[in-house]
Amino acid sequence: MNMSSVLRSSLALGVAAFLGLLTYSAVHSMNYTEEAAYSRDLRRVQAATAELNERVLKSRSALMAQYDPLVRALRDLRELHERLKRVPEFLGNDAAFELRAQLEESEAQLRQKDELVESFKTHNSVLQNSLHYFPVLANSVIDRARIEPSGADVASRIQALISAIMLFDTSADAESTSRVLAAQVDLSTAKQAARELKLDRELELILAHSRLILERKPTTDGIVHQILAVPLSRMALALEDAYSMHYRAATDRALILRQILFSLALATVVLGLTDVILRVRRSALALEVATGELRQANAALAREREKERQLGELKTRFVAMTSHEFRTPLSVIVSSAELLENYSDRWEPERRLDHLERIRSAAGSMGRMLDDILIIGRAEAGMLRASPALMHLDEFCKHLVESLEHSSARSHCIRYTFTGDPRVTLDERLLSEVVGNLLSNALKYSPPGSQVHFDVVANDEQCRFEVRDQGIGIPEADIPRLFQSFFRASNADQIKGSGLGLAVVKKALDVQNGTIEVQSRLGHGTKFVVQVPRDLSVSRLSSTDL
């Protein structure tokens, strides 16, 4: 796995994690309206509980004449509990579970409170009625009893019961209870007297109300205590504490989540940027390489085109040259042959011989040209090989000079010198191509009567051939292309030539491991220096050894 794939995998992972967390946080995001409503409801549980307790106490103290507010407070509490069971989602499942468990406990307390309040209302109604009515009734009976002189005793007993009840209403301890009981017994014994006063039914009613007060007051007060003791308020407080704890935990989680999200987003951006930078850099590099390659390819293409152009040029020249070079001797042959055919019987033998000689010379020149072309062709096809053999160099050169001097009709004089051991192992045929071409060029491009120097030195290693003329020379610019086939120096237009001679020299030297150097001054003459290994068989051997 390379650097960029690691980078890209982490990038994908980062983006995936970022999106995942984003979705999670969107689902579990804090709903502030929901939160506000929920915590408001939580606080209202306490407020409603306090209100309920206050209303119970007010009802008990006859400060509130109806139970509708009690009923409403209980209904509010039930509705609050029902609403609170829908725990805000962002708190998480654990919190919801815990809060609901607490709520269920609180609801159980509420049901208990509800039942107690129910019971309280029932008892309190009766108690309040008796507490209210008892003194009214008792006092009215006292008033009626006191009209009769015999009623004074009954009146005083009723008065005693009123006092006992009033004391009981404030303290309700054992002593006041026994005092009420005593007063009730005391009053009961006066029933006969009351009957005589026609107040017996009223007396019964007074006693009944006093009994109700005696019975219902402790009951009602006990219920009130129980109602106040129901730990609904404390549970609401605990519920609020639990909620605040979970709320804080949820906000902490949300904060951490936000930080992680931020870090992930940052990391993703950094990774993404790194990736982009790396990609840009890589593509710039690739572009550079491609540009380089393209430039090279273009250059190669241009070279190829140039070569092709030169080749084409050469071919054109070759065709032009060969057609011209071959046509000249051919026309000589054709014309001489026609003349001989028509006039040979009338001509003197000399003249006949002359034409025959012309035919022979032309054919010879064509043959040489063909030889040259064949050598070049063979060399270019890699088929030209040297066949070295022991030879006498001095003899060879002398013979060559003589034949050239002879063919140039002795218009030029070749100054030939030889130094060294003349026995060499070289390819005689190739060597004759080299030296013959150089010497015939020297003769051809030199004015008649001028001297051509031909110095041969055969030392231990090398054979050195130097050919020096006083001819037209070669323009400096033409020297690099001097050895190309059919190339002719710009100043050689007036002199007949195929442009193959030096090409043949070069090819023949190449297969003999030889070298050629040229020095020329335009209009003053040219010097060629050729060096060939003395023993071609050894040199070739050594070259294969290398």
Binding site: L63, A65, Q66, R75, K121, V126, Y133, H209
Partner: protein
């Protein structure tokens, strides 16, 4: 429509506020009475008029019952304060009801329903009665099947509910109608709101006695009852005097099975009480006068003089409200 009602309600409330301020002297007259145990009914309540109208039709529809013979109005008589003039309701093939049928008016202000407080809400009340073989002997599904045979019902429901005639919608329509059964603006309510001449001097005296004799210890709040349970026979034994015993006499005990709930009943609302004779869970008091006499005797241990009774009854008659703007 609902908007209109709310709007009218708002105007009414504002109007009341203004009126209360302009009758300062009357308010001061009532101030001497201190905290009033009784409250006037609100002049308007919120409900969906279209649903309630449909519910009203259903309330009279016997097809709601399993045998298509019993309608709600067979016990809750429209011309009898939405109660039954017979001590026990007795309808087509059903056994006689165990208790006297209470009125449906102002039920939305009661916190528990039925003589024994068996039902916590209008919903549980109607669900139970629909299934009860002694009452509707039906179910919402059966009722809906009966109704869906009638094209006009299908059309009416489509007009009111987007999903048309369904069991749930039949129930919702009836419930909405029950919530709309409110009778505000009784002469006594007007008196409480400061209209000093709304009730007769007898009724005013009756109200004073109602409070001082201790009636308002139990019959109080906006429904003048209905928010507390009380034993029938606090100072004297009603059932011993009546002579026979009936299981329904156990009252709340039948719901809770607790000893202290024997002979305990939900204190009934006294709103429109003049229209809903006979009285008590057993329908044993044929007239308002008898009911007042019995209550004073068994609950308060008192014998009423004729004048007192007349005043109390005059007060109770002032509790008859208006339904849809017309006095009942």
């Amino acid at each position: 429509m609902r908007l209109l009602i709310v709007l009218l309600g708002c105007i009414g409330l504002i109007g009341c506020g203004l009126r209360e301020k302009s009758h300062d002297s009357v308010a001061r007259e009532n101030d001497s009475l201190g905290d009033q145990p009784l409250e006037p009914l609100p002049l308007t309540v919120e409900f969906d008029a279209a649903r309630a109208a449909l519910g009203e039709v259903l309330f009279k529809e016997p097809r709601l019952s399993g045998d298509s013979k019993v309608a709600c109005t067979d016990c809750h008589h429209e011309d009898h304060g939405s109660a039954d003039e017979k001590p026990h309701s007795f309808v087509n093939g059903r056994p006689e009801s165990a208790v006297n049928t209470p009125t449906m008016y102002n039920v939305r202000f009661l916190y528990k329903l039925g003589w024994s407080g068996k039902y916590e809400s209008l919903e549980s009340h109607i669900d139970s009665l629909m299934k009860n073989p002694k009452v509707m002997a039906s179910s919402w599904e059966i009722a809906t099947a009966h109704l869906s045979e009638i094209a006009s019902y299908r059309e009416k429901f489509r007009g009111v509910f987007p999903d048309g005639l369904t069991a749930s919608n039949v129930r919702l329509a009836i419930l909405e109608y029950e919530r709309s059964l409110v009778t505000p603006n009784a002469p006594f309510d007007r008196y409480l709101r400061g209209e000093a001449q709304a009730i007769s001097p007898d009724a005013k005296r009756g109200y004073a006695m109602f409070k001082s004799y201790g009636c308002s210890s139990c019959h109080q709040g906006v429904a003048i009852g209905g928010n507390v349970f009380e034993r029938f026979g606090v100072l004297r034994d009603f059932f011993a005097d009546r002579g026979h015993f009936d299981n329904a006499d156990l009252g709340r005990f039948n719901v809770t099975q607790r000893d202290q709930d024997r002979f305990v009943f939900r204190v009934p609302s006294l709103r429109n009480v003049a229209l809903t004779a006979p009285y008590f869970h057993d329908g044993s008091a044929a007239t308002l006068e008898t009911a007042v006499t019995d209550m004073a005797n068994y609950q308060l241990g008192r014998e009423l003089e004729d004048g007192d009774r007349t005043a109390l009854v005059a007060f109770l008659r002032s509790l008859t409200g208006e339904y849809r703007g017309k006095p009942l």
